[in-house]
Each structure stands twice: as C-alpha cells, then as structure tokens.
C-alpha cells in the first residue's frame, strides 16, 4: 500500500499512485498535538473550580477563547458565535503551521493544496452563511449591484476571494522557505569554498556554519511572517464572513 523510494513516499490505491508529500506528515503531527492539547484542556477545565482564579493552561485557554470570542464579536457581531472554534482553529493551526519550520518540519502552509483547502472551506462558510442570512435570491441579486453588467465582475470577485486568501499564505510561507534554503545554500557554499582554501573539502557540511548568520532571518521569515500571515488570514476570513452576513 505504501511505497518509499527515491522519489518520495507514495500511497497506492487501486491502479493509482499518490505521493505523500512531507507536508502531510506535518499536518498529522500538528493535528495530533492540537487534539491532545484540546483533550488536556478539556479535563483541566472540567476539574477547574469556577470560583477559583484560573491558572496555567486553563488561564491561557480562557484568554484564548475569550480573545477569539471578542475578536469575532467585534467584527461580525453576535450572529456567528458558532464560528468561534473555527476562527480559533485557524489561528492556532496556522500559527503552528507557519512557524513549524523552526522545528525542522516542512510548514504545511507552504503547500498550495493545504492553503487552497482552507481557502475553499472559508469560501464555503462565507457563501453558506450569506445564503442563510439573506436568502439565495437576495444574495445573487446583490452581485448585480449597482448595475446588471457588474454581475460577472462581482462573481469573479467572489471567486477570487479563496484564491487570494490561499495564494497569499502559500506564497509568503513558500517564499520564506525558499529564501531560507537559498541563504543556507549560499552561506554554506561560501564556507565550503572558504575552508576549501586550506585544502579541506567539507562539501555540504558548510551549511552547518550558516546557522549563526541565518538566525535573524529565521526570526523574520519563519516567526514574524508566520505571525503576520496567520493574523491576516484570520482577519480576512472574519471580515469576509461579516460582509457576507451583514
């Protein structure tokens, strides 16, 4: 069923072979971690006394949950309370997914299929709630505003939303990963040739010397860009939903 060769890991189903890209491993790891964390949080909350001052993980969870609730309330209002766990999922998942490169795993968000899936889910939530709050007729009619010939443009604009969401995230994270790879390769090659002057050939190990120089770039491309992109994705998702249900 599974096949591992030079090309990578493959899953054989019927007559087809599907490649299991390393991003999938990251997805599975993050999912496991988050589910276990949620389970721990659940038992901790169940044990917590509502009259006691919350502390530790319960306090963090409370801050996170009320933060997301208030964030959603501030943008969408009270209509979409059920959406809070999804926004919370996006925030935590994207934060970890964007910055997991620091732990040596491949960031799942540097995969277009991953960001595309998230974009499509967001798109579906927007459309579903838009129809739920305004009805299908009114929703379609609103695309013909202010003139009927604006209809195709509005529809394209609507469809562009998941594309722009997913490509923005994908491009930023992949770009960061590419720049980091180039930096490691370039600095490593530099050290290899520098040490090569003494007659020693260390080959690829030159990259080991690159770490002190790449730290600050990791901070920027992995941590800062990851945080910013998480925030942008979550904020845009929430704003688009609020526009749809308004």
């Amino acid at each position: 069923m599974f096949k591992l060769n030079d090309e990578g890991l493959f899953l054989k189903l019927g007559g087809n072979e599907f490649e299991i890209v390393p991003h999938v491993i990251s997805i599975i790891v993050i999912t496991l971690v988050l589910v276990i964390l949620a389970g721990v949080v659940k038992t901790k909350i169940k044990k917590a006394d509502p009259l006691e001052k919350p502390k530790g993980i319960v306090l963090l969870t409370e801050m996170f949950v009320t933060g997301i609730n208030n964030f959603l309330k501030g943008i969408v209002g009270d209509k979409m309370k059920g959406l809070a766990p999804y926004i919370g999922f996006l925030a935590v998942y994207l934060l970890i997914a964007n910055t997991i490169g620091l732990l040596g795993l491949v960031p799942p968000t540097s995969n277009l299929t991953v960001t595309g899936t998230l974009g499509i889910i967001t798109f579906l939530i927007i459309q579903y709630n838009g129809v739920r709050f305004h009805g299908l007729k009114k929703r379609i009619k609103s695309w013909a505003e202010p003139f009927i010939f604006m209809f195709p443009i509005n529809v394209i604009g609507e469809l562009a939303l998941p594309v722009s969401l997913s490509f923005r995230l994908f491009g930023n994270i992949l770009g960061g990963a590419i720049i980091m790879t180039i930096l490691y390769g370039a600095i490593g090659a530099g050290f290899t040739s520098l040490i090569g002057l003494t007659g020693l050939n260390i080959g690829q190990f030159g990259e080991l010397f690159a770490s002190p120089f790449t730290t600050v770039f990791h901070l920027y491309f992995d941590l800062f860009a990851g945080l910013i992109q998480t925030f942008i994705f979550v904020l845009l998702t929430t704003i688009f939903i609020s526009l749809a249900v308004e």
């Binding site: 988050l34 991953v114 390769g185």
Partner: protein
C-alpha cells in the same frame, strides 16, 4: 547546485495539487474544529457562564444584604429615637415627681414644724401658767408664813410693812 534541487522539491511538492494532502487537510480541519468546539469552547464557555452566574448571584445577595442592613439601620434609628424620647419623658416625669415630692415634703415638714412650734408654745404657755399658779400659791404660802412671822415679830416696822405691801402687790399681778 544542491540547494537549487531542494528549492525545486519545495516548489514541486508545494505547488502540485495532491488529493492525499487535500484529504489530510480536510480531515485535520474537521478533527481539530470538532476537538476545539467540544473540548475547548464548550467547557470553557460553560465555565465562564457558571462563573458569571455565581458572580451575579453574589452581587444579588450582596445587594439584598445591603438593603436589609439599610432597613435594619433605619429601624434601629427609629427605635433609638423613640427610646430617647421615652427616656426623656421618664426623666422629665421623674424630675417633676421628685420636685412634687420635695415640695410636698417641705410643705409637710413646714406644717409639722409649725404645728410642733405651736404645740411647744402652747405647752410653754401652759407650763408658765401652771408655774405662775404654782408660784403664786407658793408665794401666797410664803407670804402667809412671812406675814405670820412679821405679825409675830415687828409688824409695825414701816420698812417691813412697805415690803409686804409691795410683795403682795407683785403677787397680785
């Protein structure tokens, strides 16, 4: 170059649509969403609303206690005021009673004193009268005896005669 291959791999694996990745991401989204919804949001919201209801209860009971305290204080103040008035009344009555009693007593004492004085005066007067009478009787006796003696001895003496006259005159008063 080695790192160019790596970049190629990155772009290739990231850009190519892949059904396994799609399914993995869908499942991950679904699972984490459900876990967050049922294990994090629901209990946390319950905890928060439980705490809120407890706080509201506490505030409500505090408000009630405050109201009760205020009404009790009011009651006590009224009671205190009444007690003060009552006390003043009692003191006033006691004072006036005491005054009355005092006046009565003084009155009685004065009356008694007057009565006793009168009685004493009467007694004194009576006594005097009695003594005067006794004295007179006695004097008469003496006078008689003196007269007897004078009669017996030198009644003719002018001086004595005069004396006896005077004496009798005095007694006669």
């Amino acid at each position: 170059m080695d790192f160019l291959d790596k970049i190629n791999d990155l772009v290739q694996s990231g850009l190519m649509p892949n059904p396994i990745t799609l399914i993995a991401q869908l499942l991950a989204t679904f699972i984490i969403f459900l876990a967050f919804k049922h294990w994090v949001w629901k209990p946390m919201n319950e905890l928060i609303s439980k705490r809120q209801s407890v706080i509201i209860d506490e505030l409500e009971s505090a408000r009630q206690a405050k109201e009760e305290a205020a009404s009790l204080r009011n009651e006590y103040e009224v009671n205190l005021e009444e007690a003060k008035i009552e006390a003043n009344k009692i003191i006033d009555t006691a004072k006036s009673q005491a005054l009355e009693t005092k006046e009565q007593m003084i009155d009685e004492a004065e009356k008694e004193a007057a009565y006793k004085l009168e009685k004493a005066e009467k007694e004194i007067a009576l006594e005097r009268k009695k003594m005067q009478e006794e004295l007179r009787a006695h004097l008469v006796d003496i006078a008689f005896s003196a007269a007897e003696k004078l009669v017996n001895e030198n009644i003719d003496d002018d001086k004595n005669r005069k004396l006896i006259d005077q004496f009798i005159e005095e007694v006669g008063e």
